[in-house]
């Protein structure tokens, strides 16, 4: 999908999913250390990144996110043993799906940090923001047509 020319004023909206263990601790530590990272990132906390669902990621893009990423414990150190490995497999599948859809799998990524790696947490936010800035806005934004697609994914469903 060919995007619009890069607009230097474009500030990406990014949805980040992070686990309640290492990634949350790293986020907390980043705050305590006053480490700066882009303010346009919206965080969604998960009990473990193993809870990530392809539907959550697609919903982020469908609802207008320019990019999305997942932050997990380092591989081998997941508090639920293999939750982050499962998340990684789903991220790979979702990237392929985003390519098929035409949004582009490069708008999605996954990062691994330990609880003390506040700088790595902030760097993930910065690098994703920079990448999305290069890619430009979510192509769906240029093609908002009426009637708007009416059926939204209800993340409160019991099945989710």
């Amino acid at each position: 999908m060919k995007n619009e020319p890069i607009n230097p004023a474009f500030e990406p909206e990014i949805t980040a999913f992070y686990c309640a263990y290492c990634a949350y601790m790293a986020a907390d530590a980043a705050g305590v250390l006053r480490i700066q990272y882009p303010a346009s990132i919206k965080f969604v906390r998960l009990p473990c990144t193993g809870k990530i669902d392809i539907r959550y990621l697609l919903a982020a893009f469908e609802q207008g996110a320019d990019g999305a990423y997942v932050v997990a414990c380092t591989l081998g150190n997941c508090h639920h043993v293999r939750g982050n490995e499962r998340a990684l497999a789903r991220i790979k599948r979702t990237k392929a799906l985003l390519d098929e859809i035409g949004i582009g799998g490069e708008r999605l990524d996954m990062f691994f940090v330990s609880g003390s790696q506040a700088h790595a947490f902030a760097e993930a936010a910065r690098s994703m923001t920079e990448r999305i800035r290069q890619l430009g806005p979510n192509p769906l934004k240029f093609r908002r047509t009426e009637p708007q697609n009416v059926h939204r994914i209800d993340l409160s469903e019991e099945s989710v």
Partner: protein
């Protein structure tokens, strides 16, 4: 279970192109447990079609719904209003479910979202293997519970062919030779003598070769309208 795989997004979109109201119908039985066409996959497909269509400048509504079993009338009847109100239905069931919708709703345009693959089982998480060919005349009792019809590439009945090499099939070295498995298992069970009986040519009329099949159980049929 019936094992299926989802078709590529482009193929599915192509089969419903032009429709302004699309209904994705998932099935809550076999294809849910093989992660091909359950509620989760129906929601993912609906979201994917919505986004892809929007990128192509097409305006359409895409909704998804999942029933317990698409292959039974009573579950399909719940969907009558939604199906009749849609321009196109994408069935995420096996081929039975697609045909059930077509038969129950004569005016509905229904297309398959899955390729029905085989009758099998998950041998480990994420891997499904064929186990039954629905041949209509089960002989697992004489082959140690390992099916030579479904698992031997040549469906042989009296031992392996010359292509069995180190316990693997000549068709694909990743496929274990069914007759090696049968021999090893019967040997462990001390029942190798079962293999001494020569099996006559199989009556394939009970399989698909005899035409579409039908099972009738008079004891279960309704004798009057209820």
């Amino acid at each position: 279970m019936i094992v299926a795989e989802q078709k590529k997004l482009d193929e599915i979109r192509g089969s419903v192109s032009g429709a302004r109201k699309i209904l994705i119908v998932g099935c809550g039985t076999c294809v849910t447990v093989c992660f091909a066409g359950g509620a989760q996959e129906a929601a993912i497909l609906a979201s994917s079609i919505r986004m892809a269509n929007q990128l192509d400048g097409q305006t359409c509504e895409v909704a998804d719904v999942t029933v317990q079993r698409q292959c039974e009338w009573e579950y399909l009847d719940e969907l009558a209003d939604q199906i009749n109100g849609a321009d196109a239905i994408v069935s995420l069931a096996c081929g039975v479910g697609v045909q059930a919708i077509a038969e129950r709703f004569p005016n509905a345009w229904v297309v398959p979202g899955l390729n029905t693959a085989f009758i099998g089982m998950p041998t480990e998480q994420g891997i499904w293997e064929e186990r039954c060919a629905a041949c209509g005349d089960c002989l697992l009792g004489i082959t140690g519970g390992i099916c030579p019809i479904a698992r031997c590439s040549k469906s042989l009945l009296n031992g392996p062919c010359g292509g069995s090499e180190a316990g693997h099939c000549e068709i694909d070295p990743n496929i274990p030779c069914a007759w090696q498995l049968i021999h090893d298992r019967l040997e462990k069970l001390g029942k190798l003598e079962l293999l001494l009986e020569v099996q006559p040519p199989k009556n394939w009329q009970k399989a698909r070769d005899g035409g579409p099949r039908k099972v009738i159980r008079e004891d279960l049929r309704l004798t009057h309208k209820e």
